[in-house]
């Protein structure tokens, strides 16, 4: 074993010194990597189908994406992921060629060219105060032949030219407590109505000339009952509101500048009232809906402002916006979920009783309820109207329905991944049949002959295309069984919608998906949040027949004491095994390094009251846990107060709780950072499952250094309070950054270093005995990366072989973190060009292969950087011995080699996280980057020294062997003959 690893090390060194650059040929794209593009949950959709050309739809999403989709297949024509704080408030299409987006709380207005997504103009809108943001694109309102866009944002009404984004006029609404609710532009008129509430019981109406912003009329009327929530416009001069109790509907009419209220108690409309109602705004003339608990009531407003209930249903109902159809008529759609089907109805606004369309579509149970619907019409061949509906489901997926069929669907929930874990695939059980092998053998040979032709440059273009498609369509890689090298795995991802997906690492297809009921909105839990995914059961040794399962942890609501929820999901079948609603909250989850006899991993859940709860709740788990009770330590970070605390367990819960699995905790230590000078901005520890091959590091002159390897090291970065803002808000003198290495068992600070004139954000990664962190250096005005390596000095004497032989070493002496560690640290800093979003490090099965940092840059690319570039032993002029060891001469900045971008010419838009998983093959690591897009690839930081590459040409090998055998037999016969002749002579 030792020899083998030495050999591996040698080969590794040989290869790594040969070529440190990881690189990819263009024709290798897609062989081991895949890239998927998503959008996020659609907030708004606008169809563009007027012309006879391509049918398209513009969407904006909760991931701040604006995109143009093909309505036939759902493909993306173009897409822009706006900045993370540039939330889209509204979109529309203007002039039939521009997409208008209003974002950043109504302060940025942009126009994009519809066909290609090029930005045409951008306007910044300011205003006196914060308010609702509303975007209106009137179709036939022109100022001097110039179409305008009406925007209400930040307390100001603006009219902006469609052509160049110039503000034509503006009007402030500075009333102290005025809250503008709606901006209404009656079609065909040059008037704009701005309606809102002031001081909670005053209804205000402003009539404005749309051509110049002149205030024509201002009326206000008091209503003693006050107002609640939103208003819904029902006619161009009538809105519906609720009084402050939520029990009385108010029809507010402001025709001819006269405001009149008409009260209708909800109890008059429906017999059994269910408490306060909520208005669901709709743009349909004469129709609006209210919601009381789970009951949705659709109400029609007659011409005399009378209210009439037209539908009352227990099903969750979504209503589309109004769609103008012929001669001033409006159509709208209602959609409901009932069991395995969804019911879609399209009606005319003034004719409730007839349906233009009534369809039922079978829908996967795991898509949940329908959240939104957008409709569009087309003219059928028989001149009648047909409707297509774009629906957004509870799991954030986007589907197009037409003629009772799902035309296409997009799994856009995958754009908001919360957590990722992996699972092994099942082991292949039965052998493959002989016929299949023979077929494969022939194909195999044919394939390799083609490849040989390719390498010898004899292949025709068709052959080259055949080779490429053969490589890409390799059926091996998407097989549903475990492979020898461990490349095929399942990526289990938890999305914000509370849905679990299993993605195959081979080609990224969805193996199964499951909408977790525990993370869905329910009566008990109004705002469930998914938190984490853990490996619950990993079958191993004696529990081989069990399926692996994952633990999903969620909580009910954003507050820290919200009760938690657990789900256990089988990763082979994708079915929920069980779920638990907890009585306690979940503040922290600690996967323990112990498993029970069925290979279930023990997890400790810490609640907000600092009680520890053990899962699984079995007597066996408790007995295992009680044995290790005194060895369990953890820490907690309170970044608001600047305190880091260490904790240990005390014993079973005392008090009223008769819970077997509840344990009391005690505080061991705490570090309090001075709140006026230091603010915690980053904490990083080592990955729990990281494997370190050896503690010893042999350096150039046959010296040995011992890495200080402890699972209980924590890296903490703090900045000066002033420097915690954005770059440019602080001068170098008043900002500093302090990096700490803290032992989390004793609370001892092992290392502390101050970077003067530096500030955050800090992104860090901790692995083995080193930490690398990225921050901003204000003096040089560049980003910097620093490395700290920590070495154990107490073992430094163990380099004498004789000591090792005679057993006079201290390698086997027990390590206790309570003994004072004798450590030294080495560190170095380098400039780095780009801003960074996230940093990860490669991980391999045995930890032998050298490491690479995976840096997610601001450009949404992932750069692989050899750890050797971040070695504190780098010097400007390394000695010969150091050069042999592989030390790179010191440069002031880290190199950015384009070929070492893992994502090559692709972008992982909205990059949020990078996960690395070791393959079974030591040289290879699997990398999964997620954001709005997903990207997966295999990486060999020191090249694949332990396996033949995909490019290896078996045919060439065969030919060489055949040629050698032929040559041997030929020379043998020749020599025989020569010998015979010599004997005759």
């Amino acid at each position: 074993m030792a020899i083998r690893s030495f050999l591996i090390l040698f080969i590794l060194f040989f290869f790594s010194s040969l070529n440190p650059i990881l690189s990819l040929y263009e024709d290798q794209v897609g062989l081991v990597d895949w890239h998927q593009q998503y959008l996020g949950k659609v907030k708004q959709a606008v169809f563009h189908t007027h012309k006879t050309g391509r049918k398209r739809v513009v969407v904006s999403t909760e991931e701040n994406v604006v995109a143009l989709l093909d309505l036939r297949q759902g493909e993306i024509f173009w897409r822009h992921v706006l900045g993370s704080n540039d939330v889209i408030d509204g979109i529309d299409i203007a002039l039939g060629k521009y997409v208008i987006t209003l974002s950043s709380g109504g302060s940025i207005l942009r126009a994009w060219n519809l066909p290609d997504g090029q930005m045409v103009w951008e306007s910044s809108l300011r205003g006196p105060k914060h308010s609702k943001s509303l975007l209106l694109v009137p179709t036939n309102l022109k100022i001097e032949k110039d179409n305008i866009v009406i925007i209400f944002s930040n307390g100001r009404l603006n009219a902006v030219s469609c052509i160049d984004g110039e503000v034509l006029w503006e009007k402030d609404f500075e009333g102290e407590s005025l809250e503008v609710q709606q901006v209404i532009q009656p079609p065909g008129s040059n008037l704009i109505y701005v309606v809102g509430f002031a001081s909670s019981s005053l209804f205000e109406m402003y009539q404005i000339n749309a051509l110049n912003g002149e205030l024509l009329k201002h009326e206000s009327a008091a209503f003693s009952g006050g107002f609640l929530g939103e208003v819904s416009p029902v006619f161009s001069e009538t809105v519906v509101a609720l009084d402050s109790t939520g029990l009385i509907l108010l029809t507010v009419s402001f025709q001819n500048g006269m405001i009149s209220f008409q009260q209708t108690p909800i109890s008059n409309l429906v017999k059994d009232s269910f408490g306060p109602a909520k208005i669901i705004p709709s743009s349909v003339t004469g129709i609006f809906a209210i919601k009381m608990n789970a009951v949705t009531i659709v109400i029609r407003v007659t011409d005399e402002n009378k209210l009439e209930v037209v539908e009352k249903t227990n099903h969750e109902t979504s209503i589309s916006d109004a769609l103008p159809v012929s001669e001033g008529q409006q159509a709208f759609a209602l959609v409901q979920r009932a069991g395995p089907e969804i019911h879609l109805r399209v009606k005319l606004a003034h004719n409730w009783d007839d349906n233009l369309l009534k369809e039922s579509v079978k829908m996967d149970q795991h898509r949940g309820l329908v959240h939104k619907i957008y409709i569009n019409n087309y003219i059928r061949t028989d001149k009648s109207y047909g409707f297509r509906a774009l629906i957004v489901m509870e799991d954030h997926s986007l589907l197009l329905l037409q003629q009772g069929e799902i035309v296409w669907s997009r799994e856009d929930g995958l754009a908001s991944i919360i957590d990722v874990t992996t699972s092994e695939l099942p082991v292949e059980r039965d052998g493959v049949s002989v016929a299949k092998v023979e077929h494969n053998l022939f194909e195999w040979l044919k394939g390799h002959m083609l490849k040989l032709k390719g390498t010898l440059m004899l292949a025709s273009p068709q052959d080259i295309a055949a080779i490429q498609s053969m490589r890409l369509k390799n059926s091996e890689k998407s097989k549903m069984t475990r492979d020898h090298n461990g490349f095929r795995k399942l990526l289990i991802v938890l999305t914000r919608a509370g849905k679990l997906f299993a993605l195959h690492t081979g080609d990224g297809h969805i193996v199964w998906s499951y909408l977790l009921q525990s993370l869905q909105k329910s009566k008990v839990c109004q705002h469930p949040i998914g938190l984490n995914l853990y490996k619950w059961q990993v079958p191993h040794h004696h529990a081989m027949d069990e399926n692996p399962s994952v633990l999903v942890i969620g909580k009910c609501g954003p507050s820290s004491d919200a009760p938690g929820a657990l789900s256990f999901v089988d990763t082979y079948t994708g079915k929920e095994l069980s779920s638990l609603s907890l009585v306690h909250s979940v503040a922290q989850v600690i996967p323990l390094p112990y498993t029970d006899s069925t290979e279930q991993r023990l997890h400790l859940l810490i609640d907000a009251d600092k009680h520890a709860h053990l899962y699984p709740k079995t007597p066996e788990a408790i007995s295992i846990f009680e044995r290790e009770l005194s060895n369990i330590y953890w820490y907690s970070v309170e970044d608001d107060n600047g305190i880091i605390k260490g904790h240990a367990l005390r014993g079973k819960c005392t008090g009223e709780v008769a819970d077997e699995v509840c344990f009391d905790t005690r505080e061991l230590w705490s570090i309090v950072f001075p709140s006026e000078s230091e603010k915690i901005i980053a904490t990083v520890t080592r990955k729990l499952n990281e494997v370190v091959h050896t503690q010893a590091k042999v350096i150039a002159d046959q010296e040995v250094m011992y890495k200080y390897i402890s699972r209980n090291l924590l890296f903490v970065a703090t900045v000066a309070l002033k420097g915690s803002g954005e770059i440019g808000s602080v001068t170098p003198e008043e900002s500093w950054l302090v990096a700490y290495l803290i032992d989390t068992v004793t609370g001892r600070i092992l290392h502390r270093v101050t970077h003067h004139g530096s500030q955050g954000p800090v992104h860090a990664v901790f692995s083995e005995n080193w930490v690398v962190y990225h921050y901003f250096n204000l003096k040089a005005h560049r980003y910097e990366m620093s490395v700290i390596e920590i070495y154990d000095q107490s073992r430094a004497d163990n380099k004498d072989v004789w000591k090792l032989v005679l057993g006079k070493h201290n390698l086997t002496s027990p390590i206790s973190l309570y003994s004072r560690p004798d450590v030294i640290t080495k560190s170095q800093s380098y400039f780095f060009t780009h801003s960074v979003k996230t940093i990860a490090v490669t991980s391999t099965t045995k930890g032998i292969t050298s490491k690479q940092l995976l840096i997610g840059t601001i450009g949404d690319q992932v750069l692989a950087l050899d750890k050797r570039f971040l070695d504190p032993r780098r010097t400007v002029n390394p000695t010969q011995a150091e050069k042999e060891e592989g030390i790179i001469p010191l440069t002031d900045s880290l190199p950015i080699i384009p070929q070492s971008y893992v994502t090559h010419a692709l972008r992982v838009e909205g990059l949020r996280g990078i996960i690395t998983v070791p393959a079974k093959l030591e040289s290879t690591t699997l990398v999964f980057a997620h954001g709005v897009d997903l990207f997966f690839t295999q990486l060999a930081p020191s090249r694949t020294y332990d396996s033949l590459t995909d490019d290896f040409n078996y045919a060439l090998l065969l030919i060489t062997i055949v040629a050698l055998v032929a040559a041997i037999s030929l020379t043998w016969t020749l020599s025989e003959r020569k010998e015979l002749q010599e004997n005759w002579r």
């Binding site: 690189s23 990819l24 040929y25 263009e26 173009w78 706006l82 900045g83 993370s84 704080n85 540039d86 942009r110 060219n113 997504g117 090029q118 930005m119 045409v120 103009w121 951008e122 306007s123 910044s124 809108l125 300011r126 110039e166 503000v167 503006e170 390498t455 010898l456 440059m457 954005e726 770059i727 440019g728 808000s729 602080v730 954000p761 901003f776 040089a780 005005h781 560049r782 060009t833 780009h834 801003s835 979003k837 840059t857 601001i858 450009g859 690319q861 900045s893 950015i896 384009p898 070929q899 971008y901 090559h904 010419a905 972008r907 090998l957 060489t960 040629a963 050698l964 040559a967 020379t971």
Partner: protein
């Protein structure tokens, strides 16, 4: 808002004006990204296609896009020293340090952070283009010879054709002596193989 629009117009006419005080709070940074035609457009970005270029202020505080003519604009920026990054697939841009001074508005202070080169006007050009793929070497006889199998064949050839030649060229007397020595010694000892070992 009108002053900004006018400033924009001004900036379109003359690129020299980079930073100007906008209306109300904050300043405006106005610049241009210029991607030279014909520079490394190997399939990543069409020449002149600017719709996928993002301009980022202070590591993500504000993200903006380019107009068709390559101009970009950051509005309502507080005074201070800021960092502008340009991301475009296929090109390497240096981040730019921009000083927005409250005392003398309109003064241009911009420098590339990579090579500390000052900019007289905020026109950002890529330092180099980025080639993400290795270029496949065309087939050559040397690559076959250098491959492990080529070396194997080469070694075989050496053994087969050159070794007999070496044996032939040896002096027959010397050959006989060597053979005798071999016979005398029986098992070849390690010492005799070492240089200088045969002297005694």
């Amino acid at each position: 808002m009108a002053p900004i629009a006018r400033l924009l117009l001004l900036a379109l006419l003359s690129t020299a004006l980079t930073i100007s005080s906008g209306s109300g709070d904050g300043y405006t940074i106005n610049g241009r990204v210029k991607i030279p035609q014909g520079l490394g457009t190997k399939g990543f970005a069409l020449p002149g296609k600017t719709s996928n270029v993002k301009v980022i202020l202070n590591g993500g505080q504000i993200v903006t896009y380019l107009r068709p003519d390559g101009y970009f604009l950051f509005q309502n920026i507080p005074a201070g020293t800021h960092l502008i990054e340009v991301t475009a697939i296929g090109y390497f841009f240096s981040p730019v340090r921009v000083d927005v001074s409250a005392r003398n508005p309109g003064k241009v202070q911009a420098a590339l952070t990579e090579n500390r080169r000052g900019l007289s006007e905020l026109v950002l050009e890529p330092l180099r283009d980025e080639q993400y793929y290795e270029i496949r070497e065309p087939f050559s006889i040397m690559s076959v010879v250098k491959s492990p199998m080529g070396l194997m064949v080469g070694f075989m050839l050496v053994v087969v054709f050159l070794m007999p030649k070496l044996v032939e060229n040896m002096d027959p007397e010397e050959m006989r002596r060597a053979q005798e020595e071999m016979r005398n010694q029986g098992v070849p000892s390690l010492a005799s193989l070492l240089p200088g070992g045969g002297r005694n």
